[in-house]
Amino acid sequence: MSAATRINDFVIKIATVNGTGSASANTLLMKSIFRSGIPVMGKNYFPSNIQGLPTWYEIRVSKDGYVARSGKVDIMVCMNAETYARDVREVAAGGYLIYDSTWPRPALLKRDDVTVIGVPLARLCNENFKGVRTRILMKNICYAGVLAALLDLDVERIRELLAETYAKKPALIDSNMQAIQLGYDYAKANYTCPLPLRVEKMNSTAGHVMIDGNTAAGLGAVYAGATVAGWYPITPSTSLMDAFKSFADKLRIDPETKRANFAFIQAEDELAAIGMVLGASWNGARSFTATSGPGISLMNEFLGLGYYAEIPAVVFDVQRVGPSTGMPTRTQQCDLLAAAYASHGDTKHVCLYPANPEECFYMAVQAFDLAERLQTPVLVLLDLDIGMNDWMCRDLKWDDSYVPDRGKVLDREALEKIDKFYRYLDKDEDGIPYRTFPGVHPKGAYFTRGSGHTQLGTYTEDAVEYQRVLDRLLRKFATAKRLVPKPVIERDTRNDAAIVSIGSCDGAVREALDMLAARGVRLDYLRVRGFPFGEEVEKFLEEHAVVYVVEQNRDAQLRSLLTLETRVEKSKLRSLLHYSGLPVSSAFIVDGVLADRAEGRRAVAGEAS
């Protein structure tokens, strides 16, 4: 009952149990497709658990290069009996279902509109491998072999990848290859291969890499010249710090002295982590931390100090599902407000919103420049989807002429020349004062405090003096508007409706725009990339009568931020809110826009305001 031939355009979803080694099989599949020149995306839906719970991996093969979830599954690989029922339900009509037929499940798997492909994976592996653990691991590699036959994957590519992965353990190359071959041969012998859904070599991945955002951001921190990292482990941010550490261990060890040109400090909690970052930045080192929602909550008090005492800091917030502990291994964009206004009092922060790993790399560097230029904490908001999934991105590039913007720092010579130094004077009328580092010059000494201070840096409880500093901070924030990354805008002057979105929604929005256009609905698009919002955002909002705000949280946080921080008329912002914990799909956006159009002015979640 197979559908028409569909080359390089389908979704495979693999249901397994976590801790069984399925990750390597999935990576193998995805990378072999990537190396065949075909755009591909991989997303991991894993539990907050080390072993034994259901986990899914979704691979989207997309000749058009769409990087989001389509919202549809064409081939389901059911490796977890516990989730058979729901996995079967999820396959699109005309799709395929692959399962381990060592234990036949005719009743459970019954679906007339889906082709069931049974492969006795466990039996094949039990007959060919020894040891319980090996058999479990090989069963997973074996399904990769089945898919290789069904999809017409290049087996040589798979061998090449295995050889790279197990370069240091050659015995594993052979056993893995044997498992691949078992699955491959069985499928070939028992089913018509390849399926109408299959891959065909392309040439669209040259100049691209498959990388996750945490790795890219960690690498960005290395290139930015960060020397002090303080952190406390929390999913999904941990791998960002791991990446920084492993890159630094390779790239930052002095070849002669073997000394480490960085300090990596595991803090006792997030309060200490951000404290260390502030202490190090205050003392002139580029310093950062990475965390997630619960950590941001704990860092609030210190972030306020950073804002008021004007200390640079870079905080990567890899957002996960809240409230509270929420679903730690699922994705959301739910810290937009918490990040922008972290801490009590009149406090607000510069935020950057990367949409993919490529931007994570560049924005990491930009975050350090901005933090030091503006002398304030900068929060870079990734999410689990960007941070922990492999995305196909253009090659990361580095310009060796880059010079870090250390901002307004008076060095020894500058201090020598001046009569007296005052920390918080707005000499240049851009709201940004000058700072000094300890130990540089006796004239540079000043007192840093989170309590009321005058522009000269002295303690005060005087209304006028206090307000003078507070108002200057506002001027500094206005300067920030000009310095943060500009929004990405796709504009056609004939359109009066648009989508405004943020971060990892980008892929889904772009695909949705194409799908909508194909149905005659043309929308403009703006993706915010920095906070505070600049004039470009204001203008775009002004120019459109209807604006769909697409974001991944329940409370329309981006919409709130837009209404609070721009002149936009609230009623024209209509929310499309996705907050299930899975990355938003293009289908969700298309459906949302069409439903709104169909029902006139019904706001999908306008009540949220």
Partner: protein, 352 residues
């Protein structure tokens, strides 16, 4: 209340240290604490100590949390950078600052509330990391700044000003520091400048975490009859067990101590501290014995003072363990930090 600059009157005959600076040059803004507050005496001792070791003022970094005690970083060495951070979190600021530049003198000033309640975790972890700093708790048994609530160092049976009695056992920072492996642990009294000044000097020279718990009565909220942290009670119950003389590096060492009774301990910078045991059965170099001895006396209500424990811990000091370079991280030129475009190109192979 605004900042009150201290009038600088320089007298030509004031004694000068090796840098040609007078004690005045180590003072700070005028204190706004209550007259008679123990904390002010500690400030004076710090001024004296820094002047005495000829510390370059710009190399002194003063860090604190929040509280009356924490305010005092503004009252000494105005030529050094100060950082009055948030309540209980000074150790993490110190950690970051020290990671960025290990060449400065870090003086952390905290209170018993700041370090033993809200900041207990950070205090403990700074010790664990053997952060190279001098950490002083100005201990008065109460939260002075929030008007006299009991702190975690309040003794069982001590009475608050309004008569309330404390029943919870105290956390003793000296025992805690010994327990957690601190290599330099001292206790003193704000009213004993003679003892305190050399302790501060030794602590500043010590490579690693140097801790001094200074009993520092709060005249406003905890100096009454029935309080175990009053001036009168402290004077009566403190008992010096080890005297410490600080001998700066450059100065010739005149051995006026008789061997056997006195024990010279070399500091990292070449200076030395001569410990003179007043109690013959006490061994200040053994942390376990010191802990037992201090605890035993504490149970009897005796607050032993002096340099209660001192042993070299350079090997476990943060920078040593982490193999950071001699040049402070904040001075490394970007060229040393940038792996370069070519390296990035090579790195990407892994992601194809």
């Amino acid at each position: 209340m605004t900042f009150i600059p201290k009038p600088k009157v320089t007298h030509p005959n004031l004694p000068r240290n090796e840098l040609g600076l007078t004690r005045r040059d180590y003072e700070g803004a005028l204190s706004t604490l209550c007259a008679g507050c123990g904390h002010d005496s500690i400030t004076a001792a710090i001024v004296e100590a820094c002047w005495g070791i000829s510390a370059k003022p710009e190399n002194v970094v003063k860090l604190s949390g929040i509280g009356c005690s924490s305010k005092t970083t503004a009252y000494f060495v105005s030529g050094g950078h100060g950082f009055n951070s948030v309540h209980g979190r000074m150790p993490s600021i110190a950690m970051g600052a020290n990671a960025a530049n290990h060449r400065l003198h870090y003086i952390g000033i905290s209170g018993d509330g700041d370090s033993l309640s809200i900041g207990l975790g950070q205090f403990c972890h700074a010790i664990r990391r053997n952060l190279d700093m001098l950490y002083i708790i100005e201990n008065n048994g109460v939260y002075g700044l929030t008007k006299g609530q009991f702190s975690a160092s309040a003794d069982v049976g001590t009475k608050a000003k309004k008569g309330e009695v404390n029943h919870q056992p105290p956390i003793d920072p000296v025992l805690l520091a010994l327990n957690l492996g601190a290599g330099f642990v001292a206790r003193s009294f704000s009213g004993d400048k003679r003892q305190l000044v050399p302790l501060i000097q030794a602590g500043l020279s010590y490579k690693g975490f140097a801790f001094i718990d200074v009993m520092s009565p709060c005249v406003t909220f905890n100096d009454h009859e029935g309080s175990t942290k009053s001036y009168a009670y402290t004077r009566e119950h403190m008992e010096p067990v080890v005297e410490a003389d600080y001998v700066p590096f450059a100065r010739e060492i005149v051995a006026d101590y008789s061997p056997g009774e006195a024990l010279p301990v070399m500091m990292h910078d070449g200076s030395r501290v001569v410990l003179r045991k007043l109690a013959t059965d006490y061994d200040p170099t053994d942390a376990h014995k010191a802990h037992a001895y201090v605890q035993e006396h504490l149970a009897r209500g005796e607050h032993l003072t002096g340099l209660l424990h001192c042993r070299p811990t350079e090997d476990t000091e943060f920078h040593g363990l982490n193999r950071t370079p001699d040049v402070p991280l904040n001075e490394l030129p970007y060229a040393k930090l940038n792996p370069g475009a070519a390296t990035l190109g090579k790195l990407l192979a892994r992601y194809r």
